[in-house]
């Protein structure tokens, strides 16, 4: 008996073999006692371990990796604090439907519940921030659990799955079964929408003269971009996209009006406000879009396509709901619709587009918008752009027009500062032949910039553009506009010199101070073969416009900097 036991692989070896079989090439993580058996198994594996400097960084790298490819990003951390450091990354991935698998070490099974060293009830802590989770109590379950985790993370509405691994499970012998079958009786993946729902939607669409397609992350995930554009062209309907839906359909398409919502283009929001039919394609009527729900398109017909039926009628009642994969649903819908008479409507939308273009002052110092506008021009949409959270995120969303899905990666639902830079590392590892830019603020960059080590050590040639305004700019903007400019806790005076800091990590640093230098310095960064940090020292007190105050109707959009004092917004955050 003892002999045959010795011949058995360990739980960790079986685990890593399962990941290899799933085609995993990279794991992002940071080790610790309870996870050592798994790190040990990686020594002999084809999987490359990317050692990060903080577990949060590992989660965002895995997230960026996932969003750039659609394949799940894998994270491996130890128990206790290692595991709790992944919570922000789990929330970020869950809110934005990113597939991710997080492996956490755990104390021995016999110690569970005894406050053993670095024991934390990790499944308990993470219930609200995972799509699903497991604690392995029998190593023979490992192959099934891994198979299920990949299936759950990547299908339907994707999301993060956590697997908690007690050390005796990973260290001990594992008698893995030969055949592995999933056992998920409560989990179904919607495919095509019901014919009756498609017919109803087509009927409603046929009556519309002022339709609009409101395209979200679901369209990116489903790879529905081509189908969406085909639908827009067939119906002659304009499109708008959400912050996360950027690029699902080409933002430079003549029927595309850009991003809608709080900091969307004025013409996108005017079109939404004036439409007679709005069809959400993998978008969830989020409060950054709807503002005042009661005043949001009150008379327009509403249709919702989503793979997650729990989103239907959640925020407002729908006239038709189509449950299924966005691409398949639109393909089926295309067969049922004919061109609409939208000539006047398109004329109106274009008139708004011409009357209210995105603009920024060309004088008075270096502007973030100018830098981003030039980055867009120089890269011509052929790069992957990730962003952090704040003003720079909104400017990047406005000025970096996205031509294709999975080329724009940002934390939308959670709004996680510190996301942008590690996400770019993950995206670059996933797609090494692409030019990858992380647009970050000086505030958020400092939350995860220790990963400069990770980028330097692994030679990950992601390019960081720090929009340095020496403020927590977005909060400062709110305080200026809505709190009588009573600035509180937003001044980042005492920032490090980011160029020197980059150099200290062995990463090239470039500073831009003058508008006239923008093109040359950006090009210098583009030409550099390796990670680089470009620091744009921009004017300190610029604001993002257009802006719809939180909770306000679209008609309250502020297009130009206001002269009078504004009321405090009623909406949250």
């Amino acid at each position: 008996m003892a002999d045959s036991q010795e011949a058995l692989p360990t739980g960790a070896e079986v685990l890593i073999r399962c990941f290899e079989e799933q085609g995993v090439e990279h794991i992002f993580g940071l080790s610790g006692g309870a996870a050592i058996p798994v790190f040990d198994a990686l020594v002999d594996s084809s999987i490359e371990l990317i050692l990060t400097r903080h577990e949060q960084g590992a989660t965002h790298m895995a997230d960026g990796y996932a969003r750039a490819t659609g394949k799940p990003g894998i994270v491996l951390v130890t128990s206790g604090p290692g595991a709790t450091n992944t919570v922000t990354g789990l929330l970020t991935a869950l809110m934005d439907s990113a597939p991710m698998i997080v492996l956490t070490g755990q104390t021995l099974c016999e110690n569970l519940g005894y406050d053993a060293f670095q024991e934390a009830d990790v499944t308990g802590i993470t219930y609200p921030v995972v799509k699903h989770s497991y604690m392995v109590r029998d190593s023979a379950d490992i192959p099934r659990i891994v198979k299920e985790a990949f299936h759950i993370a990547t299908t339907g509405r994707p999301g993060p799955v956590l697997i908690d691994l007690p050390k005796d499970i990973t260290q001990g012998p594992c008698e893995a079964p030969d055949r592995v079958e999933m056992n998920l009786p409560g989990y179904t993946v919607p495919g095509r929408a019901a014919a009756a729902d498609l017919d109803l939607a087509a009927e409603l669409i046929a009556q519309s003269r002022k339709p609009i397609l409101y395209v979200g992350n679901g369209a990116v995930i489903a790879g529905a971009g081509k189908a969406v554009m085909e639908l827009a062209e067939k119906l002659r309907a304009p499109m708008v996209n959400t912050l996360l839906g950027k690029g699902a359909a080409d933002e430079t398409h003549p029927l595309h009006l850009g991003m809608l919502g709080m900091h969307g283009t004025a013409y996108a929001n005017k079109a939404v406000d004036g439409c007679d039919l709005i069809m959400a394609i993998g978008a969830r009527w989020d409060d950054r879009i709807t503002g005042d729900v009661k005043a949001f398109c009150p008379t327009a017909t509403k249709i919702h396509i989503d793979v997650d039926p729990s989103e239907f009628n959640k925020i407002m009642p729908m006239d038709a709901t189509l449950c299924g994969d966005a691409k398949l649903v639109i393909e089926d819908l295309l067969e049922r619709v004919s061109p609409l008479d939208t000539e006047e409507w398109l004329w109106q939308c274009n008139e708004w587009r011409e009357r209210y273009p995105l603009k920024y002052p060309k004088k008075g110092g270096l502007r973030a918008q100018h830098v981003l506008d030039r980055l867009d021009a120089l890269t011509a949409g052929n790069s992957i752009v990730t962003s952090d959270v704040g003003q720079h995120q909104m400017w990047a969303a406005q000025f970096c027009r996205t031509r294709e899905g999975r080329r724009w990666i940002t934390s939308g639902g959670a709004g996680t500062m510190g996301f942008g830079f590690p996400a770019a590392i993950g995206a670059k590892m996933a797609r090494p032949n692409e030019e990858v830019w992380a647009v970050v603020g000086d505030g958020g960059f400092q939350m995860t910039l220790c990963e400069l080590s990770t980028a330097a050590v692994h030679g990950v040639a992601a390019k960081v553009l720090v929009i340095n305004n020496n403020f927590l700019g977005m909060v400062r903007q709110w305080q200026e506009l809505f709190f009588e400019n009573r600035l509180s806790g937003v001044d980042l005076e005492g920032n490090p010199d980011f160029v020197k800091l980059a150099e200290a990590y062995g990463v090239k640093g470039i500073r831009i101070r003058r508008p006239g230098d923008v093109d040359r310095k950006l090009q210098e960064a583009r030409d550099h073969d390796g990670p680089v940090v470009v620091v744009a020292e921009v004017v300190k007190e610029d604001n993002v416009f257009p802006m719809i105050p939180a909770g306000a109707p679209l008609s309250h959009m502020i297009i130009e900097p206001p002269k009078e004092r504004l009321e405090k917004p009623s909406g949250s955050t």
Binding site: Y127, N183, P185, G186, P309, S310, N313, K314
Partner: protein
């Protein structure tokens, strides 16, 4: 879960009680996942019964809960999203058979016993423990009947009350 509520419910003003049946795969953590869906939306669970289902590896949860119907609709949708939930149905207003059991301990003098036993008889309650200073009654039936019985017995000095929580099954061909 609700704090023990020994007073008779004022059914006129309380928001309506809903009975939800949740059919789940019997996996670790499924109860917590279900409970969190309610808790996050500020919904109070009044009673909760978990028991093995006819099919091996599955459990049946019967949950009574109060709150506005719209939020409840949301909760049902969110329950359906949980990986381990096979089905979640609101049975409020459905044709279904419902039952509950209550155990009631009353401290009473000998001279009160006759009256108590009369009440008990009326509700078909059985005396399951006879002690010199107390009685334990077991009453069985619809939750409303149990409410009424408890209310009538309260003046005699109920010292302990344990209720099983409501269980429910759809009638006829319909599945719960």
């Amino acid at each position: 879960m609700a704090a023990p509520d020994l007073a008779l419910k004022d059914t006129t003003e309380a928001s309506p009680l809903h009975t939800i049946s949740v059919f789940v795969a019997d996996r670790p953590g499924v109860l917590v996942r279900v409970a969190l869906v309610f808790a996050r939306r500020g919904y109070n669970i009044e009673s909760l019964v978990v028991s093995p289902a006819a099919e091996g590896g599955f459990s049946r949860m019967t949950i009574t809960s109060s709150g506005d119907p719209e939020t409840l609709g949301q909760i049902i949708q969110q329950l359906g999203k949980l990986v381990d939930v096979i089905k979640a149905v609101d049975h409020t207003g459905d044709s279904a058979y419902e039952a509950e059991i209550a155990l009631i301990k009353i401290e009473c003098d000998l001279d009160q016993r006759t009256e108590i036993l009369q009440v008990a008889e009326h509700y078909g309650a059985k005396v399951v423990d006879y002690a010199s200073e107390s009685l334990m009654l077991r009453v069985f039936g619809a939750s409303e009947k149990l409410d009424a019985c408890v209310a009538l017995l309260r003046p005699y000095g109920i010292v302990e009350l344990v209720r099983s929580g409501k269980i429910l099954m759809a009638r006829g061909q319909k599945r719960t």
